[in-house]
């Protein structure tokens, strides 16, 4: 009975908490992420087209160049100290594209530089990006297997 009373009390508390919970501006957040994420896509496309034109290379090679460019810019802006403010504003608009991956590594690198090259930088640079790599590899393997089974390779 005591336990039941305890549960009731905590359920009642949860109601009070929910009553005073502010509503997040989800629609606005999604819109900003959609527009800014889309802009990153547009920049990527423009860069690819330009590289094809300038260097007379295939679209596949040009898109690799484009990715390297975006990674470089995101890392540079993180190092210059203002990319975190952009991320706070754009949210998933900058986190989901390759810029987010680069930013997560650079920010961790800057943060743990003081603990030295092994116990700081080396052990922590993949603190956030490690999950992306692990599950990226695992899902690539899994979908590759599916493709082999269903489509025969």
């Amino acid at each position: 009975m005591l336990l039941l009373g305890d549960m009731m009390e905590k359920k009642k508390y949860e109601e009070i908490v929910n009553k005073h919970k502010p509503t997040e501006t989800r629609g606005q957040n999604a819109f900003i992420a959609f527009v800014t994420g889309g802009l990153v896509g547009v920049i990527g496309q423009v860069l690819t087209e330009l590289y094809v034109g300038w260097f007379d290379i295939s679209t596949k090679d040009a898109s690799t160049f484009m990715l390297v460019t975006l990674i470089f810019l995101a890392s540079l802006f993180t190092a210059l100290g203002f990319f975190d403010k952009w991320v706070t504003f754009c949210k998933c608009g900058l986190i989901i594209p390759i810029t987010g991956f680069a930013h997560s590594m650079t920010s961790a690198g800057i943060e743990y530089k003081k603990e030295g090259p092994i116990f700081g930088l080396g052990s922590n640079i993949f603190k956030l990006a490690g999950s992306v790599i692990l599950y990226g590899v695992v899902s690539a393997w899994f979908f590759g297997l599916l493709r082999l089974i269903i489509m025969g390779g």
């Binding site: 009390e9 905590k10 009642k12 508390y13 949860e14 009070i16 908490v17 009553k19 005073h20 919970k21 502010p22 997040e24 957040n29 993180t78 100290g81 990319f83 975190d84 403010k85 952009w86 991320v87 706070t88 949210k91 930013h103 997560s104 650079t106 920010s107 961790a108 800057i110 943060e111 743990y112 003081k114 603190k127 956030l128």
Partner: protein, 331 residues
């Protein structure tokens, strides 16, 4: 557990505040502020230790006391193994006691110091605490340059160091009584809504303090919680009313809400937090008000969330605690 003290007084207090706090409404009450979060040090951790060290120096200077006059320093902070407290106290050679109850540390220090003095065994005790926005972000959340988006309920760890010097000589501001908090679990799991985690602990401690001392909330000119933030403050008022039938809304405020201008300083979201948050408000503005006798009786309730990143990742509930101390102007 509520104690009354016979001869414990506040000699002096000191506050050293960081750049975000210096932009807030209490700026003119701080003893010292600084612009760069590194504060001339190489790391966030050492920057935090330096602010705490400066606050200890300041409180000695303000009280015109020598290092030798201090019998013991009681200090705590948020860093792993309370390193800010250790590294800042080292050069003073005081007998040292390290404590931890997260953001309730400042009042825990006052309670312990006051009990020491009241026992007659010591005369002067410094209780100090610190926190640093960046060192906390690094330890509890993401790398500081990551800038991960947070919900509106999240609070912003205050940067600074603050110290209070307690003495057995009558200074006009008396440490009147204190209540030691209990650890509570209201099954809260969101580290980005600390107000909801800590409000029940604040309510429990306020209620037991009033019961033990046979008082009503209007006995105090002001009741102050540590760092519940905008929404935690609302929750506490509501919860006090529904659970205990006590209305505290007329003379209650929260230090986390007072430390910043929530309208213009949007980056702090629901308000300030961290052990130094309540100390920065209490040891600057509130002490000034007590000294000028604008208020005469104040109940400081510092609130702490007891958890670690590991426990959060293991989906354990976040526990909470609140310690209360009552200060009174006498004479």
């Amino acid at each position: 557990m509520t104690f009354q003290y016979r001869n414990v007084f506040v000699d002096n207090t000191s506050t050293v505040a960081g750049p975000y706090e210096a932009k807030g409404p209490l700026s003119k009450y701080f003893d010292k502020t600084f612009d760069n979060l590194y504060h001339g040090e190489k790391s966030w951790e050492m920057a935090e230790a330096k602010t705490l060290e400066e606050s200890i120096e300041l409180v000695l200077k303000k009280a015109k006391k020598q290092k030798e006059d201090i019998d013991v320093i009681i200090s705590g902070d948020l860093m792993n193994q309370i390193t800010s407290s250790c590294y800042s106290s080292e050069k003073f050679n005081f007998p040292f006691l390290g404590i931890y109850s997260a953001c309730a540390t400042s009042v825990e220090g006052i309670i312990l110091g006051s009990t020491f003095i009241d026992s007659g065994k010591v005369k002067n005790v410094i209780a100090s605490t610190s926190s640093h926005n960046m060192s906390s972000e690094k330890q509890f959340r993401n790398p500081t340059e990551y800038g991960a988006p947070k919900p509106k309920t999240a609070t912003f760890t205050a940067t600074g160091g603050a110290s209070i010097l307690l003495t057995n000589e009558n200074t006009g501001i008396k440490v009147e009584s204190s209540t030691i908090g209990r650890i509570l679990d209201y099954q809260q799991t969101d580290p980005l809504h600390m107000g909801s985690v800590m409000a029940p602990a604040a309510a429990d401690t306020i209620y037991r303090h009033l019961q033990d001392m046979n008082r009503t909330p209007d006995y105090y000119d002001l009741i102050l919680t540590g760092d519940l933030g905008l929404y935690g403050k609302e929750i506490l008022i509501d919860f006090m009313k529904t659970e205990y039938g006590i209305d505290i809304s007329s003379n209650y405020n929260d230090c986390g809400v007072m430390l910043y201008d929530l309208e213009t300083q949007k980056e702090v979201l629901a308000g300030g937090s961290g052990p130094v948050c309540s100390a920065l408000v209490n040891y600057s503005l509130i002490m000034e008000m007590l000294r000028k006798k604008k208020i005469k009786k104040v109940l400081l309730v510092a609130t702490g969330a007891l958890f670690s990143p590991t426990m959060v990742y293991q989906h354990e509930n976040i526990l909470s605690i609140a310690h209360a101390v009552s200060l009174e102007v006498i004479k």
